[in-house]
Point group: C2
Amino acid sequence: MTHAKTAAFTEQQQQLARLAKALAHPARVAIVELLASKTTCISGDIAAELPLARTTVTQHLQELKAAGLISGTIDGLTVCYCLNTALWRQAQALFAGLFTQAVANPACGPADACGC
Amino acid sequence: MTHAKTAAFTEQQQQLARLAKALAHPARVAIVELLASKTTCISGDIAAELPLARTTVTQHLQELKAAGLISGTIDGLTVCYCLNTALWRQAQALFAGLFTQAVANPACGPADACGC
DNA sequence: ATACTATGTCGTATGTTTGCGACATAAATC
DNA sequence: GATTTATGTCGCAAACATACGACATAGTAT
């Protein structure tokens, strides 16, 4: 035992995990890169560019939308997906914070493993 | 139709997704923050700090280890877990690249959604 | 109106993740 | 050598993720 179980996870930790989860699949990373590279908002063309069925790509798009990282706008018959830059800035800040902490960690190197 | 299915996913996209997956759970984010905050390599104390059973924490540690983000060294009866700073630097670079791309995207704002 | 197109939802199959208690291992202590 | 302590592995159950084809919807064009 010796279990404390003090607090649950902070909102920051949960948000970071949520964002990480949204990027935790190569297809979704590829979608984001696609949307970032094109200035025009492409729609179902995304599906054509990926090695997956159209419906599967739709699902990945829905996941990214649920995380808030992209938004879709109906334009007649097609749908435009765009990066939600505001949330991307938040993600950038959250991850940067963690990375800075992790990289600055002085205790253990890769070779000497840990000297405790 | 009109499907091209040109290439599968790049190694970069897969590695990014792998790292994101490792951070896609609040418990693992919390573990990383713990390891980053303490200069000493704590071991099973991690389990005591989290609202989860000891075995569950071990599993999360194994996942982080499998992704290469941490490494464990046996020190007598206890085990020391440490951040693998080399991989964290790689993660930092990979994510920074994606974030920069995403944030620099000029086409769509959060309000006007997309003007295509 | 009819046909066509782009898109999303549903159901389904298969695999993965999460969480946990019971057990195994292995160093330290008595 | 028996006991305690720290840790990991196993097997299980419930939940979730992934992928896809069949279907529904809703604009557009003939």
